[in-house]
């Protein structure tokens, strides 16, 4: 194993010359002129890099702009001369982009924290003039991504090993320690900056994580779940309104849909009249954000569409993409207006106040006092039965609607499992969700293809007046391609459903619901 880089906190009164003298006892030292670097740490909104302990930063300094990517131990994962990209796909083709894209997918790289670093570098050489250890004399200041006053951080002395030269690294450490006063605070300046600014990348996750205990009343538990979902909606508002990436709107909509499912599936728990006031409001949110999501899906599917066309028709989709882009921009303006409206403000504040208010037993909420695990069991069993019933009724000639209905029922079951997972064995719930996901993926693919094919026909009409004939032709080819894929997906449905309806999954569900004491 390679030794890992160290970022010591420098004591007061230490001078660079003293460091150089210490290093010269290990080998000749090459000193680079001091420079100032402006650094921006980048991550996705859900902190995909941070969660892996990795740091990606855009550095602009004297040699130009570059991206530097490091692993949990500070080991280099790649370096690329390029400015900060908004998406991994903005980078030049190559392994760096491929690896980053595999991690970030469609998520944008957003600034997490800004650092200004004044650095003087020393390279310790061997007899051949080869660098065998690197040392940096660094002064850092941090600022929030949107700007604001810089916060000075601890001055540091960074010692970076060169792979395959552990001995000079050890010697350098020993010589530097002799200078005295080097501090180790178990982090580097990036960690310190996050702490100083109170930034926690990855604090947001699109997963439902609600702490519930058995014995809790249904009322209390459902309020907790709904508060969590409200938090998810709110967390995604700025990114949705700013169209930072397509996941914000998607996650926002999922939180809305989960909320609506909870209100529909868990009747009798919250006061009926209050719920009746809010349900149309959440329906409105689902509906005003729908067109923008559909257009996101079309545009995200475009590379796949292109690949499905014969090469000489691929560029024929440009007018189509422009049409989509125009409509997408218009749809996002609608979303922005809705989420900036008084109506939305009132919905959010009113809903939060309602959820946070202490529960009062009333006639509109006969199940408020039920133990949550009983409620959860009953609802899950019901939703599961419904999936089995609807799925079994689907045959080779069933209309697309039947698939759509089944898909909705699957989603309800999935949401219930996720809301209440804290009450049951997490491993068991995880496996169930996985079983269900196999079926959901099939149904989702079927539905997406249905929607896409229908939409393409609509777009072809919209382009009929001024679109070139080649574009029409390309869209025709695509519709046919989508219909073919849809037939394949439908063929696979039977197998998927049988697996889900089979004994293994059923037993799994029973075991989970029975619970540990069962």
């Amino acid at each position: 194993m390679d030794p890992i880089p160290r970022a010591f906190v420098r004591p007061d009164g230490l001078e660079p010359d003293a460091v150089v003298r210490a290093l010269e006892r290990v080998g000749p030292v090459r000193r680079s002129p001091p420079g100032v670097e402006a650094r921006v740490v980048l991550d996705t909104f859900d902190g995909r890099l941070h969660r892996r302990g990795e740091v990606l930063e855009a550095v602009s300094g004297p040699p130009g702009e570059r991206l530097a990517w490091h692993g949990p131990g500070g080991e280099p994962l790649g370096s690329l001369p390029a400015p900060a990209p908004r998406f991994a796909t903005d980078l030049p083709a190559g392994p760096f982009r491929e690896r980053l894209e595999a991690l970030t997918g469609v998520r944008a790289l957003l600034p997490v924290v800004r650092l200004e670093t004044r650095v003087e570098r020393f390279a310790v050489l061997d007899g051949e003039g080869k660098t065998v250890c690197r040392v940096g004399w660094e002064d850092h200041a941090a600022a929030a991504p949107e700007g604001g006053p810089p916060v000075p951080l601890s001055p540091r002395l960074r010692v970076v090993p060169v792979r395959g030269y552990p001995k000079p690294f050890g010697r350098v450490l020993a010589r530097l320690r002799e200078l005295g006063g080097l501090g180790d605070d178990g982090r580097d300046e990036v960690g310190e900056a996050l702490d100083a600014l109170g930034v926690r990348p990855g604090a947001y996750t699109s997963k439902v994580r609600v702490a519930l205990e058995r014995g809790l009343t249904a009322d209390e538990a459902v309020r907790r779940v709904l508060l969590h979902l409200l938090g998810a909606m709110e967390a995604n508002v700025p990114g949705t309104r700013g169209a930072w990436d397509t996941e914000f709107l998607h996650d926002f909509r999922v939180a809305v849909r989960r909320t609506r499912a909870a209100l529909g599936q868990l009747r009798g728990v919250l006061p009926a009249d209050e719920v009746a006031r809010y349900r149309p409001e959440f329906a409105w949110l689902g509906q005003v954000t729908g067109p923008a999501r559909d257009l996101d899906v079309y545009r995200l599917g475009l590379p796949g569409f292109r690949a499905a066309l014969p090469p000489d028709l691929r560029d024929a989709l440009e007018p189509f993409d422009r049409l989509l882009a125009d409509r997408q921009a218009a749809a996002y303006r609608e979303v922005d207006r809705a989420l900036g409206s008084r109506r939305f403000q009132r919905l959010v504040t009113g809903w939060r106040a309602f959820l946070e208010a202490p529960a009062e037993p009333g006639p509109g909420a006969p199940r408020a006092g039920t133990a949550v695990e009983d409620l959860a069991r009953r609802r899950i069993v019901k939703a599961h039965r419904r999936v089995l019933r609807e799925g079994a009724a689907i045959g080779p000639d069933s209309p697309a609607d039947a698939f759509h209905e089944l898909r909705k029922s699957c989603k309800k079951l999935r949401y219930l499992l996720e809301f209440f997972q804290g009450l049951f064995d997490p491993g068991g719930v995880g496996r169930l969700v996985k079983d269900l996901k196999g079926l959901q993926d099939n149904l989702g693919a079927f539905q997406d293809l249905e929607v896409q094919a229908t939409a393409l026909v609509g777009f072809a009409d919209a382009l009929a007046g001024d679109g070139p004939a080649r574009t029409q032709l390309a869209l025709g080819v695509l519709v046919e391609h989508l219909r073919r894929r849809q037939a394949e997906v439908r063929d696979a449905f039977g197998r998927r459903f049988d697996r889900f309806a089979g004994r293994v999954t059923r037993k799994r569900l029973e075991a989970v619901l029975r619970g540990p004491e069962g």
Partner: protein, 252 residues
């Protein structure tokens, strides 16, 4: 991990110059890159100021279960590592030969795959078990060809070798090296050979003093003469190689 080997049975044609400069460019473009100097003479190792020594020798390095990463050394450039040459590599034929010659080399390379995007193999000038093993594990052979009648013949030998050892998976990508456009023969072969050899890369490397000076500076040309003709040519060559080998199914 993509495996690229600079190979030609003939000596002094520019294999090492290409391996060093292309590996440098691969790393500069964001690839995690390793260059393995397979030549006991250790020219590539020398260019990086690294000692041509592998503790325990080739035998230990190629032993079953050994992880070559333990011998890897970081160069002075981000993203670029070197697996040094060693005098014991003169016995590489014995160690890699016998049975399926690609098997042992593939086994040794295995642990490197998750850590690197590109592996360059700089081969010694020979037609041997080493070359055969390399042909079997590499995704592409980069073959420098000096535009002279004799050198062109060695290219045919590379193709013969590929056929003889049944290494059909490897693409052979020849490119002209040490080109002197003032020479009539060079100009003629430059025009003729690509017609016969459609896989030939379009970029050629000029005969240039900057390449010779690599031995003085002990650095890739881009470090000390980034605007030289040679640096520009290697830049174009890397772009072409990267494109031609993109999506080459990595053999793992």
């Amino acid at each position: 991990m993509r495996i690229l080997a600079t190979y030609n049975g003939k000596g002094g044609v520019g294999k090492t110059a290409a391996a060093v400069n292309l590996a440098y460019l691969s790393a500069l473009r964001g690839g995690r890159t390793l260059l393995w100097d397979l030549d006991p003479q250790g020219a590539a190792t020398y260019y990086f100021r690294i000692r041509a020594r592998v503790k325990g020798g080739a035998k230990k390095l190629l032993k079953k279960g050994a992880d070559p990463a333990a011998w890897v050394r970081g160069t002075d450039y981000p993203g670029l590592d070197l697996l040094p040459a060693d005098f014991s590599y003169r016995h590489l034929d014995l160690l890699l030969g016998g049975g399926d010659p690609g098997r042992r080399l593939r086994r040794s390379i295995g642990p490197l795959a998750p850590r690197y995007d590109d592996l360059f193999l700089d081969c010694p000038p020979s037609v041997s078990a080493v070359s055969e093993a390399v042909l079997r594990v590499a995704d592409a052979l980069l073959v420098p060809v000096i535009p002279t009648t004799l050198s062109v013949r060695t290219l045919d030998q590379v193709l013969d070798l590929r056929a003889a050892c049944g290494a059909h998976g490897v693409s052979v990508l020849p490119f002209f090296s040490m080109v002197d456009r003032r020479k009539k023969l060079h100009r003629e072969i430059l025009a003729d050979l690509p017609r016969r050899m459609p896989d030939m890369l379009r970029t050629w490397i000029p005969y240039a003093s900057a390449v010779e000076r690599m031995g003085v500076y002990r650095e890739p040309v881009h470090r000390f003469a980034p605007r030289s003709r040679a640096a520009v040519a290697f830049g174009a060559l890397w772009a072409e190689v990267a494109e031609r080998t993109e999506g080459d199914p990595p053999g793992d």
